[in-house]
Symmetry: C2
Subunit: 213 residues, 2 copies
Protein backbone atom coordinates (compact mmCIF):
# COMPACT_ATOMS: atom_id res chain seq x y z
CA UNK A 1 0.00 0.00 0.00
CA UNK A 2 1.06 3.55 -0.58
CA UNK A 3 1.56 5.37 2.71
CA UNK A 4 -1.03 8.06 3.12
CA UNK A 5 0.20 11.55 2.38
CA UNK A 6 -2.44 12.81 4.80
CA UNK A 7 -1.42 12.79 8.48
CA UNK A 8 -3.57 10.75 10.84
CA UNK A 9 -4.29 13.78 13.06
CA UNK A 10 -5.82 15.44 10.01
CA UNK A 11 -8.06 12.43 9.42
CA UNK A 12 -9.14 12.54 13.04
CA UNK A 13 -10.15 16.18 12.70
CA UNK A 14 -12.15 15.79 9.51
CA UNK A 15 -15.32 14.49 11.22
CA UNK A 16 -15.15 17.49 13.55
CA UNK A 17 -15.26 19.80 10.57
CA UNK A 18 -17.94 17.65 8.99
CA UNK A 19 -20.32 17.84 11.92
CA UNK A 20 -19.66 21.54 12.39
CA UNK A 21 -20.40 22.20 8.73
CA UNK A 22 -23.56 20.10 8.84
CA UNK A 23 -24.77 22.15 11.76
CA UNK A 24 -24.18 25.57 10.24
CA UNK A 25 -25.63 24.31 6.98
CA UNK A 26 -28.74 23.40 8.92
CA UNK A 27 -28.82 26.95 10.20
CA UNK A 28 -28.83 28.20 6.63
CA UNK A 29 -25.22 29.32 6.36
CA UNK A 30 -23.76 28.84 2.89
CA UNK A 31 -20.28 30.36 3.20
CA UNK A 32 -17.69 29.90 5.94
CA UNK A 33 -14.12 31.11 6.41
CA UNK A 34 -11.36 28.89 7.77
CA UNK A 35 -10.71 31.64 10.30
CA UNK A 36 -14.23 31.35 11.70
CA UNK A 37 -14.16 27.56 11.76
CA UNK A 38 -10.84 27.62 13.60
CA UNK A 39 -12.22 29.95 16.23
CA UNK A 40 -15.41 27.97 16.78
CA UNK A 41 -13.62 24.63 16.98
CA UNK A 42 -10.63 25.78 19.02
CA UNK A 43 -8.12 24.77 16.36
CA UNK A 44 -5.34 26.89 14.84
CA UNK A 45 -6.50 28.54 11.60
CA UNK A 46 -3.47 27.34 9.65
CA UNK A 47 -4.30 23.82 10.75
CA UNK A 48 -7.83 24.14 9.47
CA UNK A 49 -6.56 25.42 6.11
CA UNK A 50 -4.12 22.56 5.72
CA UNK A 51 -6.72 19.99 6.69
CA UNK A 52 -9.29 21.36 4.26
CA UNK A 53 -6.66 21.57 1.52
CA UNK A 54 -5.90 17.88 2.11
CA UNK A 55 -9.45 16.99 1.07
CA UNK A 56 -8.93 18.83 -2.20
CA UNK A 57 -11.36 21.62 -1.41
CA UNK A 58 -10.63 25.18 -2.44
CA UNK A 59 -11.94 28.47 -1.18
CA UNK A 60 -12.09 31.94 -2.66
CA UNK A 61 -9.84 34.68 -1.24
CA UNK A 62 -11.82 37.34 0.60
CA UNK A 63 -14.93 35.16 0.39
CA UNK A 64 -14.29 31.86 2.11
CA UNK A 65 -15.44 28.32 1.41
CA UNK A 66 -18.83 27.13 0.27
CA UNK A 67 -20.21 24.94 3.06
CA UNK A 68 -21.72 22.49 0.59
CA UNK A 69 -18.41 22.16 -1.24
CA UNK A 70 -16.51 21.42 1.94
CA UNK A 71 -19.03 18.77 2.98
CA UNK A 72 -18.82 17.15 -0.44
CA UNK A 73 -15.01 17.21 -0.37
CA UNK A 74 -14.84 15.53 3.02
CA UNK A 75 -17.38 12.89 2.00
CA UNK A 76 -15.50 12.13 -1.18
CA UNK A 77 -12.13 12.12 0.51
CA UNK A 78 -13.28 9.60 3.12
CA UNK A 79 -15.10 7.65 0.42
CA UNK A 80 -18.38 7.95 2.27
CA UNK A 81 -20.28 7.85 -1.01
CA UNK A 82 -19.68 4.26 -1.96
CA UNK A 83 -21.11 1.62 0.35
CA UNK A 84 -19.67 -1.61 1.71
CA UNK A 85 -21.35 -4.49 3.50
CA UNK A 86 -20.24 -5.18 7.02
CA UNK A 87 -21.03 -7.64 9.77
CA UNK A 88 -20.93 -7.17 13.52
CA UNK A 89 -19.89 -9.86 15.96
CA UNK A 90 -21.10 -9.50 19.53
CA UNK A 91 -24.63 -8.15 19.86
CA UNK A 92 -24.27 -7.17 23.51
CA UNK A 93 -24.72 -3.70 24.93
CA UNK A 94 -22.19 -1.96 22.76
CA UNK A 95 -22.87 -4.06 19.68
CA UNK A 96 -26.61 -3.41 19.84
CA UNK A 97 -25.96 0.29 20.24
CA UNK A 98 -23.78 0.30 17.15
CA UNK A 99 -26.44 -1.53 15.14
CA UNK A 100 -28.70 1.43 15.82
CA UNK A 101 -26.07 4.05 15.10
CA UNK A 102 -27.03 6.31 12.21
CA UNK A 103 -23.44 7.33 11.47
CA UNK A 104 -22.43 4.21 9.62
CA UNK A 105 -24.96 4.56 6.85
CA UNK A 106 -23.67 8.05 6.26
CA UNK A 107 -20.15 6.65 6.13
CA UNK A 108 -21.13 4.02 3.60
CA UNK A 109 -20.95 1.10 5.99
CA UNK A 110 -24.03 -1.08 5.76
CA UNK A 111 -24.30 -3.70 8.50
CA UNK A 112 -26.17 -6.62 6.95
CA UNK A 113 -25.52 -9.33 9.52
CA UNK A 114 -24.88 -9.64 13.23
CA UNK A 115 -23.59 -12.62 15.19
CA UNK A 116 -23.89 -13.62 18.80
CA UNK A 117 -23.04 -16.60 20.96
CA UNK A 118 -26.21 -16.39 23.06
CA UNK A 119 -29.07 -18.52 21.68
CA UNK A 120 -31.56 -16.04 23.13
CA UNK A 121 -30.46 -13.42 20.61
CA UNK A 122 -30.09 -15.63 17.56
CA UNK A 123 -32.90 -15.43 15.05
CA UNK A 124 -34.06 -12.04 16.20
CA UNK A 125 -33.47 -8.72 14.52
CA UNK A 126 -31.77 -5.82 16.29
CA UNK A 127 -32.41 -2.47 14.68
CA UNK A 128 -33.43 -4.39 11.60
CA UNK A 129 -30.28 -6.49 11.38
CA UNK A 130 -30.68 -10.28 11.62
CA UNK A 131 -28.65 -12.04 14.33
CA UNK A 132 -26.98 -15.32 13.37
CA UNK A 133 -25.25 -17.84 15.64
CA UNK A 134 -21.57 -17.06 15.88
CA UNK A 135 -20.57 -20.52 14.63
CA UNK A 136 -22.16 -19.64 11.30
CA UNK A 137 -19.84 -16.63 10.99
CA UNK A 138 -17.51 -17.96 8.32
CA UNK A 139 -20.33 -19.47 6.27
CA UNK A 140 -22.54 -16.38 6.29
CA UNK A 141 -19.87 -13.80 5.50
CA UNK A 142 -18.66 -15.97 2.67
CA UNK A 143 -22.14 -16.41 1.26
CA UNK A 144 -23.01 -12.71 1.58
CA UNK A 145 -19.59 -11.55 0.35
CA UNK A 146 -19.11 -9.37 3.41
CA UNK A 147 -15.67 -7.75 3.51
CA UNK A 148 -15.83 -5.65 6.68
CA UNK A 149 -16.04 -6.98 10.23
CA UNK A 150 -16.90 -5.06 13.37
CA UNK A 151 -15.76 -6.68 16.62
CA UNK A 152 -17.75 -5.84 19.75
CA UNK A 153 -16.89 -8.91 21.80
CA UNK A 154 -14.81 -9.45 24.93
CA UNK A 155 -11.05 -9.31 24.46
CA UNK A 156 -10.53 -12.99 25.18
CA UNK A 157 -12.57 -14.05 22.16
CA UNK A 158 -11.52 -11.33 19.74
CA UNK A 159 -8.40 -13.01 18.36
CA UNK A 160 -10.29 -16.20 17.54
CA UNK A 161 -13.15 -14.33 15.87
CA UNK A 162 -10.64 -12.28 13.88
CA UNK A 163 -9.08 -15.45 12.54
CA UNK A 164 -12.45 -16.86 11.50
CA UNK A 165 -13.24 -13.56 9.81
CA UNK A 166 -10.03 -13.76 7.79
CA UNK A 167 -10.92 -17.34 6.83
CA UNK A 168 -14.29 -16.16 5.60
CA UNK A 169 -12.88 -13.37 3.46
CA UNK A 170 -13.05 -10.29 5.67
CA UNK A 171 -10.51 -7.70 4.51
CA UNK A 172 -10.95 -4.96 7.10
CA UNK A 173 -11.82 -4.94 10.79
CA UNK A 174 -13.10 -2.24 13.08
CA UNK A 175 -12.12 -3.53 16.48
CA UNK A 176 -13.70 -2.37 19.74
CA UNK A 177 -12.06 -5.06 21.88
CA UNK A 178 -9.09 -3.83 23.94
CA UNK A 179 -6.58 -6.18 22.38
CA UNK A 180 -3.99 -6.00 19.62
CA UNK A 181 -5.25 -8.37 16.94
CA UNK A 182 -2.68 -10.54 15.20
CA UNK A 183 -3.83 -10.84 11.58
CA UNK A 184 -2.14 -11.05 8.16
CA UNK A 185 -0.48 -7.85 7.02
CA UNK A 186 -2.88 -7.18 4.17
CA UNK A 187 -5.87 -7.06 6.52
CA UNK A 188 -6.86 -3.57 7.61
CA UNK A 189 -7.39 -3.15 11.35
CA UNK A 190 -8.60 0.00 13.01
CA UNK A 191 -8.89 -0.08 16.78
CA UNK A 192 -11.44 2.03 18.65
CA UNK A 193 -9.76 2.85 21.89
CA UNK A 194 -12.47 3.89 24.29
CA UNK A 195 -10.11 3.27 27.18
CA UNK A 196 -7.57 5.67 25.70
CA UNK A 197 -10.08 8.46 26.09
CA UNK A 198 -10.95 7.22 29.57
CA UNK A 199 -7.27 7.29 30.52
CA UNK A 200 -6.88 10.88 29.38
CA UNK A 201 -10.05 11.79 31.23
CA UNK A 202 -8.88 10.05 34.40
CA UNK A 203 -5.52 11.76 34.23
CA UNK A 204 -7.09 15.18 33.77
CA UNK A 205 -9.27 14.46 36.80
CA UNK A 206 -6.34 13.47 38.96
CA UNK A 207 -4.22 16.42 37.82
CA UNK A 208 -6.74 19.16 38.19
CA UNK A 209 -9.40 17.92 40.51
CA UNK A 210 -9.49 17.63 44.22
CA UNK A 211 -13.12 16.69 43.88
CA UNK A 212 -12.60 12.96 44.01
CA UNK A 213 -13.14 10.78 47.00
Amino acid sequence: MAASAVPTPTLRRLPKYYHYLKRIQGEGQEIISATQMAEDLGIHHTQVRKDLAATGSQGKPKVGHRVADLLASIETFLNWNSASDACLVGAGNLGSALLGYPGFDKAGIRITAAFDAHPSKVGKKIHGVPVYPVDKLEEVIRRLHITIGILTIPADRAQHVAEVMVQGGIRAMWNFAPITLDVPEDIIVENVELYASLAIFSRKLSERGTFRG
Copy 2:
Protein backbone atom coordinates in the same frame (compact mmCIF):
# COMPACT_ATOMS: atom_id res chain seq x y z
CA MET B 1 -3.44 23.95 36.10
CA ALA B 2 0.03 22.60 35.58
CA ALA B 3 0.50 21.26 32.08
CA SER B 4 0.99 17.52 32.20
CA ALA B 5 4.58 16.40 31.84
CA VAL B 6 3.26 13.19 30.33
CA PRO B 7 2.51 13.31 26.60
CA THR B 8 -1.05 12.55 25.56
CA PRO B 9 0.07 9.71 23.25
CA THR B 10 1.59 8.04 26.31
CA LEU B 11 -1.72 8.32 28.16
CA ARG B 12 -3.50 6.79 25.20
CA ARG B 13 -1.15 3.81 25.24
CA LEU B 14 -1.38 3.09 28.97
CA PRO B 15 -4.71 1.19 28.76
CA LYS B 16 -3.17 -0.96 26.03
CA TYR B 17 -0.41 -1.97 28.40
CA TYR B 18 -2.94 -2.38 31.17
CA HIS B 19 -5.13 -4.83 29.31
CA TYR B 20 -2.13 -6.70 27.98
CA LEU B 21 -0.72 -7.06 31.49
CA LYS B 22 -4.08 -8.17 32.88
CA ARG B 23 -4.20 -10.87 30.24
CA ILE B 24 -0.74 -12.29 30.84
CA GLN B 25 -1.33 -12.04 34.57
CA GLY B 26 -4.43 -14.17 34.07
CA GLU B 27 -2.20 -16.68 32.31
CA GLY B 28 0.00 -16.82 35.37
CA GLN B 29 2.92 -14.74 34.12
CA GLU B 30 4.59 -12.71 36.86
CA ILE B 31 7.53 -11.07 35.10
CA ILE B 32 7.61 -9.29 31.73
CA SER B 33 10.29 -7.40 29.83
CA ALA B 34 9.63 -4.18 28.00
CA THR B 35 11.18 -5.84 24.96
CA GLN B 36 8.56 -8.58 24.97
CA MET B 37 5.68 -6.17 25.55
CA ALA B 38 6.88 -4.03 22.68
CA GLU B 39 6.96 -6.98 20.34
CA ASP B 40 3.52 -8.28 21.32
CA LEU B 41 1.89 -4.87 21.08
CA GLY B 42 3.65 -3.66 17.93
CA ILE B 43 5.18 -0.65 19.66
CA HIS B 44 8.85 0.40 19.71
CA HIS B 45 10.62 -0.92 22.80
CA THR B 46 12.05 2.47 23.73
CA GLN B 47 8.53 3.82 23.62
CA VAL B 48 7.31 1.17 26.00
CA ARG B 49 10.17 1.93 28.41
CA LYS B 50 9.45 5.64 28.39
CA ASP B 51 5.74 5.10 28.87
CA LEU B 52 6.26 2.72 31.78
CA ALA B 53 8.80 5.09 33.33
CA ALA B 54 6.20 7.86 33.16
CA THR B 55 3.98 5.89 35.53
CA GLY B 56 6.83 5.71 38.02
CA SER B 57 7.34 2.00 37.68
CA GLN B 58 10.81 0.52 37.75
CA GLY B 59 12.17 -2.76 36.49
CA LYS B 60 15.25 -4.76 37.30
CA PRO B 61 18.04 -5.04 34.71
CA LYS B 62 18.37 -8.51 33.29
CA VAL B 63 15.09 -9.50 34.96
CA GLY B 64 12.31 -7.26 33.72
CA HIS B 65 9.23 -5.80 35.37
CA ARG B 66 6.90 -7.44 37.85
CA VAL B 67 3.49 -7.62 36.14
CA ALA B 68 1.67 -6.80 39.37
CA ASP B 69 3.86 -3.74 39.94
CA LEU B 70 3.21 -2.41 36.46
CA LEU B 71 -0.54 -2.84 36.87
CA ALA B 72 -0.45 -1.06 40.22
CA SER B 73 1.65 1.78 38.79
CA ILE B 74 -0.75 2.35 35.92
CA GLU B 75 -3.77 2.25 38.21
CA THR B 76 -2.20 4.72 40.60
CA PHE B 77 -0.98 7.00 37.84
CA LEU B 78 -4.44 7.22 36.32
CA ASN B 79 -5.97 7.55 39.77
CA TRP B 80 -8.16 4.54 39.19
CA ASN B 81 -8.08 3.72 42.89
CA SER B 82 -10.16 6.59 44.18
CA ALA B 83 -13.75 6.72 43.03
CA SER B 84 -15.93 9.60 41.85
CA ASP B 85 -19.64 9.81 41.32
CA ALA B 86 -20.84 10.47 37.82
CA CYS B 87 -24.12 10.92 36.01
CA LEU B 88 -25.03 10.04 32.45
CA VAL B 89 -27.39 12.09 30.31
CA GLY B 90 -29.05 10.33 27.38
CA ALA B 91 -30.04 6.74 28.13
CA GLY B 92 -30.41 5.76 24.49
CA ASN B 93 -28.53 2.99 22.72
CA LEU B 94 -25.05 4.21 23.50
CA GLY B 95 -25.92 5.55 26.94
CA SER B 96 -27.51 2.27 28.02
CA ALA B 97 -24.49 0.38 26.76
CA LEU B 98 -22.19 2.58 28.82
CA LEU B 99 -24.31 2.06 31.92
CA GLY B 100 -23.53 -1.63 31.58
CA TYR B 101 -19.85 -1.13 30.85
CA PRO B 102 -17.61 -2.79 33.43
CA GLY B 103 -14.63 -0.57 32.64
CA PHE B 104 -15.82 2.49 34.54
CA ASP B 105 -15.93 0.83 37.90
CA LYS B 106 -12.37 -0.27 37.37
CA ALA B 107 -11.47 3.31 36.50
CA GLY B 108 -13.11 4.63 39.64
CA ILE B 109 -16.08 6.19 37.89
CA ARG B 110 -19.34 5.24 39.59
CA ILE B 111 -22.43 6.20 37.65
CA THR B 112 -25.11 6.87 40.23
CA ALA B 113 -27.74 8.63 38.15
CA ALA B 114 -28.95 8.64 34.55
CA PHE B 115 -31.22 11.15 32.82
CA ASP B 116 -33.43 10.88 29.80
CA ALA B 117 -36.00 13.04 28.04
CA HIS B 118 -38.31 10.13 27.20
CA PRO B 119 -40.99 9.53 29.86
CA SER B 120 -40.98 5.82 28.97
CA LYS B 121 -37.49 5.48 30.42
CA VAL B 122 -37.88 7.68 33.47
CA GLY B 123 -38.36 5.84 36.75
CA LYS B 124 -36.81 2.63 35.49
CA LYS B 125 -33.37 1.31 36.25
CA ILE B 126 -30.88 0.49 33.53
CA HIS B 127 -28.10 -1.85 34.64
CA GLY B 128 -29.02 -0.88 38.18
CA VAL B 129 -28.82 2.88 37.62
CA PRO B 130 -32.02 4.92 38.20
CA VAL B 131 -33.21 7.08 35.30
CA TYR B 132 -34.47 10.58 36.17
CA PRO B 133 -36.27 13.07 33.92
CA VAL B 134 -33.75 15.35 32.25
CA ASP B 135 -35.38 18.48 33.64
CA LYS B 136 -34.40 17.30 37.12
CA LEU B 137 -30.75 17.24 36.04
CA GLU B 138 -29.54 20.30 37.91
CA GLU B 139 -31.49 19.48 41.06
CA VAL B 140 -30.35 15.86 41.27
CA ILE B 141 -26.65 16.40 40.59
CA ARG B 142 -26.63 19.19 43.14
CA ARG B 143 -28.37 17.06 45.75
CA LEU B 144 -26.13 14.03 45.13
CA HIS B 145 -22.95 16.13 44.82
CA ILE B 146 -22.12 14.59 41.45
CA THR B 147 -19.05 16.17 39.85
CA ILE B 148 -18.68 14.18 36.64
CA GLY B 149 -21.07 14.24 33.69
CA ILE B 150 -21.19 11.83 30.78
CA LEU B 151 -22.97 13.13 27.68
CA THR B 152 -24.52 10.55 25.37
CA ILE B 153 -27.11 12.75 23.74
CA PRO B 154 -27.53 14.12 20.20
CA ALA B 155 -25.20 16.97 19.28
CA ASP B 156 -27.97 19.55 19.07
CA ARG B 157 -28.83 19.19 22.75
CA ALA B 158 -25.32 18.70 24.13
CA GLN B 159 -24.42 22.37 24.58
CA HIS B 160 -27.58 23.09 26.56
CA VAL B 161 -27.10 20.04 28.80
CA ALA B 162 -23.46 21.01 29.36
CA GLU B 163 -24.58 24.41 30.59
CA VAL B 164 -27.10 22.91 32.99
CA MET B 165 -24.41 20.56 34.25
CA VAL B 166 -22.11 23.48 34.99
CA GLN B 167 -24.98 25.19 36.81
CA GLY B 168 -25.47 22.12 38.95
CA GLY B 169 -21.82 21.81 39.90
CA ILE B 170 -20.35 19.36 37.39
CA ARG B 171 -16.59 19.88 37.11
CA ALA B 172 -15.66 17.39 34.40
CA MET B 173 -17.44 16.06 31.30
CA TRP B 174 -16.88 13.01 29.19
CA ASN B 175 -18.54 13.94 25.95
CA PHE B 176 -19.69 11.46 23.31
CA ALA B 177 -21.61 14.01 21.23
CA PRO B 178 -19.78 15.12 18.08
CA ILE B 179 -19.67 18.78 19.04
CA THR B 180 -17.14 21.13 20.61
CA LEU B 181 -18.67 22.13 23.94
CA ASP B 182 -18.32 25.74 25.00
CA VAL B 183 -17.86 25.70 28.78
CA PRO B 184 -15.88 27.72 31.34
CA GLU B 185 -12.14 27.17 31.25
CA ASP B 186 -11.93 25.42 34.59
CA ILE B 187 -14.30 22.67 33.49
CA ILE B 188 -12.56 19.54 32.22
CA VAL B 189 -13.86 18.22 28.91
CA GLU B 190 -12.71 15.04 27.26
CA ASN B 191 -14.28 14.20 23.92
CA VAL B 192 -14.72 10.63 22.73
CA GLU B 193 -14.35 10.81 19.02
CA LEU B 194 -15.88 7.69 17.60
CA TYR B 195 -16.11 9.36 14.22
CA ALA B 196 -12.37 10.05 14.26
CA SER B 197 -11.76 6.33 14.29
CA LEU B 198 -14.42 5.83 11.64
CA ALA B 199 -12.71 8.43 9.44
CA ILE B 200 -9.35 6.68 9.71
CA PHE B 201 -11.04 3.37 8.98
CA SER B 202 -12.86 4.80 5.97
CA ARG B 203 -9.68 6.31 4.61
CA LYS B 204 -7.76 3.08 4.99
CA LEU B 205 -10.57 1.33 3.12
CA SER B 206 -10.53 3.78 0.27
CA GLU B 207 -6.74 3.77 0.02
CA ARG B 208 -6.15 0.10 0.09
CA GLY B 209 -9.34 -1.54 -0.87
CA THR B 210 -10.91 -2.13 -4.23
CA PHE B 211 -13.50 -4.24 -2.46
CA ARG B 212 -16.10 -1.54 -2.10
CA GLY B 213 -19.11 -1.14 -4.33
